[in-house]
Amino acid sequence: MTTTPLTSTVDLVARFPGFVTADTRPGFTGFIVDKNKLVEAATAIRDEFGYDLLTAVTGVDYFPENKMEVVYHAYKITGGPGLVFKVQVPRTDPVEVPSLIQVYAGADLQEREAWDLLGIKFTGHPDLRRILMWEGFEGHPLRKDWQEPFYEEDFKPFKSRWPDGKIEMAEDKNPYKDNLKFPQNFDPEKWIPEGDALLYGSLAKYTITDEHGLKSDRIVVNMGPQHPSTHGVFRAAIVLEGETVLGLKPVVGYLHRNHDKIGERNTYLQNMPYTDRLDYFNSMSNNFGYAVAVEKLMNIKVAERAEYIRVIMAELSRIQNHLVFVGMLLNDLGAMYTPALYAFEERELILDIFEAAAGSRMMCNYFRFGGVVRDLPEGVLQKIKDLVLERLPAKTDEMERFLSENEVLVSRLQGIKVINAEDAIKFSMTGPVLRAAGVPYDIRRADPYGIYDRFDFDVAVRQHGDLMDNYLIRIDEIRQSLRILEQAIKQIPEGPINSQKPQYQVRVPAGEAYGRIESPKGELAYYLISNGKPNPWRYHVRPASFVNITALEKISLGTKIADFVALLGVLDIVMGELDR
């Protein structure tokens, strides 16, 4: 792992003397910006220094030091390392930080998340409501002094388990028999979901200008949380005029389990199987991202053979994700199941490989810091070769023959704009959606991790940014992944599969790390802060699905409701990752 200084080319301190200082804590990088200059500094970072893609907004609670911090990670869309800037404020309510939504529109949902979970008020944010927790919820759960009803200790392992582990059931600790807490005097009968009032309030700005003197009602339609095409428990409150979408707010959090908080209770290793449960379609990629982040923090190298195994697994995962994406897109359009089931056949064969190597089809838990759990068992590499060299290329062609020229499909997909390049960048979109809009930004090339710089492949890119391109780019990416796989299985060396000794508790030096990978859905990143203890102080997941739906409103305005289903479909969201 190279440790090039992240901020070599930018001198923010000289640009804003007196307001910006370099972050000199050992293991930390970037700049600390005075809160009053934040918006100005961010504008300069975007316009003067060219960091136009704000990928992550992370709140951090430094409880012992009585301060709160917001960390911003910005990147250049042309590639290269990123820029980290932070703002620190005292931890006395109200904790206030200016919103960056005017500079980076992509900060919208992430700021709402930081407000919801940490209670950081972003002044100037037009719609600062809770996003993952419900509106009646009391407190901000990611704060270090907030305790869940099943609370035992701050950090695992819990002392009650050994040597005197008399079993107790967690549910017996709470009268609700669940990890639930309600505000005092909470009466569900009398509770008025203030959240919905706020939600519809935020949609009320869409008034119909009635040019012809005709009166037509504005209808609010709630799509979801159970609508079959919403890819899980996702809800969209949509304002309609006729069939045209006038306004839209995504409502999420139905699957929220505070992955970040669980992660901060866990040890570093214990987090690995939890990451499987984010984007449950691609646990290999999730493992990859987390391993990259922790390895950055530990500053260790990965065993050579393991690097290849990692790439093989991640690319196989991408292929099955994209195949199923195509099938599901057709489901969304009403072509129920035939394409999806064809895709599932290939997916099953790929999952067979995961199962043979990792022990589980979907919850792989296959990566370890410095390598992988075990070498590929006998026969597995042959299976991979059979798939990559023979079956998958043929099946990808078949998928194309099956769908790409189908006139009905083409008429549903062609010309329906998803988003243009400029807006996609503004809204921090990453992954295939961004590339379909004509921006060749792929972290495997732009900011390589692992051994991706050794492979010869093209970053798939399409120019129109319509639904058709979003469909075709997945096929392109499958072909590129196959190219990478071909090289990887040819070059894979023999050797150990982990550079470290197996340890159930790793030593992680103090500092911060931001590990990002190109997951099949976009940028998946983990932001970690270590204080040298066995558990991370801050563990934050920056999922592609969550950030990508920031632009959902922008994408859907003015389209027909039937197309909205497909527009949501091409964002390829998965709720395990979106709600965390």
Partner: protein, 203 residues
């Protein structure tokens, strides 16, 4: 021509539809059973699978790979007098590494000296909380806890497994994971031999 793409696509479905029957025929000609037969299942899950892909569970089962992992169990060695020799020393590593903290161990203390004895007095796994991650088996230094293959455990009750339920013989382990068991046995024997040689050299 409008509709050409649709026809092209339909040719794929058409081909797939007939593939099931041509395959059936091919198996018939070869005089082999395609359904309710392990060879047939294997072929359907192989790289050349065509036509019907599904497996008629529970009559047919996919082959479970050796590394497949499900709720862990405790291994005991059978001694000559048919006594169960539990491998676990109640060192507590598995309880510490377990991510959802679903392992509970009570260590045995010698009633006279009060010092710990290397065998668990009680051992529980809350199977409803276990996430089947396999970390316990991975980090146990004594090969005492291993992941199972038996996934059909649906029940109406809360599944808390005690020692009695968790203990399974080493022969069972060797049966579900032959390669791993052999490798570990060899490593253990080599270690013991090295220890014995060292003791001999010292004496």
């Amino acid at each position: 021509m409008y509709g050409k793409g649709i026809l092209k696509g339909l040719s794929v479905t058409w081909g797939r539809f007939w593939a099931t029957y041509t395959e059936d025929l091919a198996w018939l000609v070869r005089g082999k059973k395609r359904y309710f037969n392990q060879d047939g299942v294997k072929a359907r899950a192989g790289k050349d699978t065509r036509g019907i892909f599904t497996v008629q569970y529970p009559e047919e089962h996919l082959t479970i790979p050796e590394e497949f992992r499900y709720i862990p169990f405790l291994v005991y060695d059978e001694t000559a007098e048919e006594k169960k020799e539990v491998r676990c020393t109640s060192c507590g590593i598995c309880a510490k590494v377990c991510p959802p903290q679903c392992i509970w161990i009570v260590r045995t203390n010698d009633p006279v000296t009060g010092r710990p004895v290397p065998v668990p007095a009680e051992f529980y796994i809350d199977a409803d909380i276990c996430m089947n991650c396999g970390l316990c088996a991975e980090y146990c230094p004594f090969d005492a806890i291993k992941m199972d293959h038996d996934f059909a455990i649906a029940s109406y009750e809360r599944n808390v497994y005690n020692m009695e339920k968790l203990l399974k013989p080493a022969s069972y382990y060797a049966n579900i994971r032959p390669l791993n068991a052999t490798r570990e046995d060899e490593a253990r024997k080599a270690k013991e031999a090295a220890k014995a040689a060292k003791a001999e050299a010292a004496s």
